[in-house]
């Protein structure tokens, strides 16, 4: 095709830019890598240290408190099943990745969402960015992450963090903005301080929306963590990737079952949190 050849120039520019970044900003990325890997290792230690039946029992207990007896029994048994098919270490490291990335994303997204909800000017800047982030296929986020951090769990965490950020931020700002007007006027009329207005009036009203955002973030994070198996994040994603590449049918079916089990359990738990919050608000 006789189109101007921008691509090779572009590739060279990118390569030299990355080379420059690697030379001059290495300590930043190394530090980021070390911090992310450290946090991940800490979370992983927490869930991998107890034997599998303890974790399964904990999840069953949580499920019993949050959803109901039947769900508790099913989720406990399902997790035992993950151990039984010999994928417990992978299941645990997937769980650790998802939890770490979601928590990091929430720590950033909820305050930003609150700011966006209170300051329309900030919201106008953030909204198109979020649109863009949510339009792109998640697979792409692995590229900058891998270019800057190299193979390993830190890359998976960074990409998952970006993907999980958007829904939580968006739904938090939506929730803050949706506070009914007459309650704000009521607060003004009774002379509450700014802090009281926020914590006693706006936040309770925003809670259902924020929890819905948490649920969505968790599910997005899960989808991404599984994809991130290809950059050596470890966990179920990597075992599926390996199994698909080698057409190892038995192993890929096992890993897929484990992923579905873990997704279902996390989704139901997060949804029940949404529902209980909605109930409280009403």
């Amino acid at each position: 095709m006789n189109t101007p050849d921008f691509s090779s120039q572009f590739d060279e520019a990118i390569d030299s830019a990355l080379g420059w970044l690697a030379d001059h900003g290495e300590f930043i990325f190394d530090a980021a890598n070390a911090v992310l890997t450290g946090v991940y290792k800490a979370v992983l230690w927490c869930v991998a240290f107890p034997p599998f039946y303890v974790i399964a029992a904990l999840f069953a207990l949580l499920g019993w408190r949050a959803v109901g007896t039947r769900f508790a029994i099913v989720s406990g048994l399902a997790l035992l099943f993950c151990a039984l098919i010999g994928l417990w270490p992978e299941t645990v490291s997937t769980l650790a990745l998802v939890l770490t990335a979601t928590i990091l994303a929430l720590v950033v997204a909820i305050p930003l969402g609150v700011v966006a909800g209170l300051a329309p000017a900030f919201d106008r800047v953030v909204d198109p960015c979020l649109d863009l982030v949510q339009t792109m296929p998640p697979y792409i986020y692995l590229l900058p992450a891998i270019a800057l951090l190299g193979y390993g769990p830190a890359t998976a965490l960074l990409a998952t963090f970006i993907v999980a950020l958007a829904p939580a931020l968006r739904l938090t700002s939506l929730g803050i903005r949706m506070t009914p007007k007459h309650f704000i006027e009521l607060g003004d009329a009774s002379g509450v301080t700014g802090l009281q207005m926020f914590f006693k009036i706006r936040l309770p009203f925003a809670m259902p929306s924020i929890m819905a955002g948490v649920n969505q973030s968790l599910m997005m994070a899960f989808g991404m963590v599984v994809i991130a198996g290809i950059v050596g994040s470890g966990g179920l994603g990597e075992s599926i990737y390996g199994a698909v590449r080698t057409l190892d049918i038995a192993k890929s079916i096992n890993a897929a079952i484990a992923i579905v089990i873990l997704t279902m359990i996390l989704d139901r738990l997060a949804q029940s949190a949404v529902r209980s919050r909605t109930g409280e608000a009403q």
Binding site: D11, P137, V260
Partner: protein, 282 residues
């Protein structure tokens, strides 16, 4: 030790899959050939005209069916794909997405209408759709790869299955939300059921249907890109190549081209939606 006891459902399922592959080989080959043929036609149609001609056609079509802004935007995005040196891969991706979306819609639309009319069907679909939308996209690729091996065919089949839930859900919603008075008006004026469907129900439901189509397109694109991992070709394969060979320039170019295509498809379908919204008021 309990941990030493292993059970692998995959080991039991693998022979079943082998049996399927051995005995229904003809069927799978037939499906593969049909899919390959259709894809080939679409791809050749996209690649046959000179890129500039195709950009012109898209510009004019977008100008007629959507707005001027959308048309300019679409032309810019396609030009970006051309100048990033990934025209062929971009067209392959668009061919994959459009064929997958067409088939998804052809399956989801009638089922959605049925679910909107028959409550029992709706109740039966709901849990299935919930599960389908929770499971990470990776998992869809596994059965497709097991049955159809690597290549474009498993990619498109996984994409079709992945694209069905949003379309089905929003079709059901669209037909359930129809204002009763319009339907009664139709019945009162003695319109035949066919006239009611095409002259009253479809135009009124169009905005929601187009939202469903938009979601279906974006999810299909995400899946097609991911399917680059199983040898689907197109931009996904370029991203995968960039990731695995650490050729960041190539990976980033492909990533940006994917963004361009995502924005192109998103704006085109949304442009059609905006065009359609005012007609609702009539």
């Amino acid at each position: 030790m309990i941990a030493d006891f292993r059970f692998s459902p995959g080991e039991f399922l693998a022979p079943a899959v082998d049996w399927l592959n051995a005995n229904l080989h003809g069927l799978f080959v037939l499906i593969s050939q049909v899919v390959e043929a259709v894809l080939g036609v679409v791809e050749r149609a996209l690649l046959a005209p000179h890129p500039y001609v195709l950009i012109g056609i898209v510009f004019v079509a977008a100008f007629i069916f959507a707005t001027k802004r959308v048309a300019v935007f679409a032309a810019l995005m396609l030009a970006f794909c051309l100048f990033s040196g990934l025209w062929v891969a971009s067209m392959q991706t668009i061919a994959l997405v459009s064929v997958a979306v067409l088939i998804s819609v052809a399956i989801a639309f009638p089922l959605g209408v049925l679910a909107a009319r028959v409550k029992r069907v709706d109740d039966a679909f709901l849990p299935i759709l919930n599960i389908m939308q929770t499971v990470p996209p990776w998992v869809y690729l596994i059965p497709a790869v097991i049955l159809f091996s690597l290549g474009r065919v498993p990619a498109i089949i996984a994409t079709i299955v992945y694209g069905i839930p949003p379309m089905l859900r929003l079709t059901t919603l669209a037909f359930k939300q129809l204002p009763k008075d319009l339907l009664e008006l139709g019945q009162a004026s003695g319109a035949s059921p066919r006239d009611i469907l095409f002259k009253i129900e479809l135009p009124t439901a169009a905005p929601t249907l187009l939202v469903g189509l938009n979601q279906c397109i974006l999810m299909s694109l995400a899946m097609v890109v991911l399917a680059g991992l199983v040898g689907a070709g197109g931009l996904g394969a370029e991203v995968t190549r960039g990731l695995s060979r650490m050729e960041m320039g190539l990976g980033l170019r492909a990533g940006l081209a994917i963004v361009a295509i995502a924005l192109l498809l998103d704006r085109l379908s949304r442009g059609a939606l905006q065009r359609h919204s005012p007609s609702k008021m009539v």
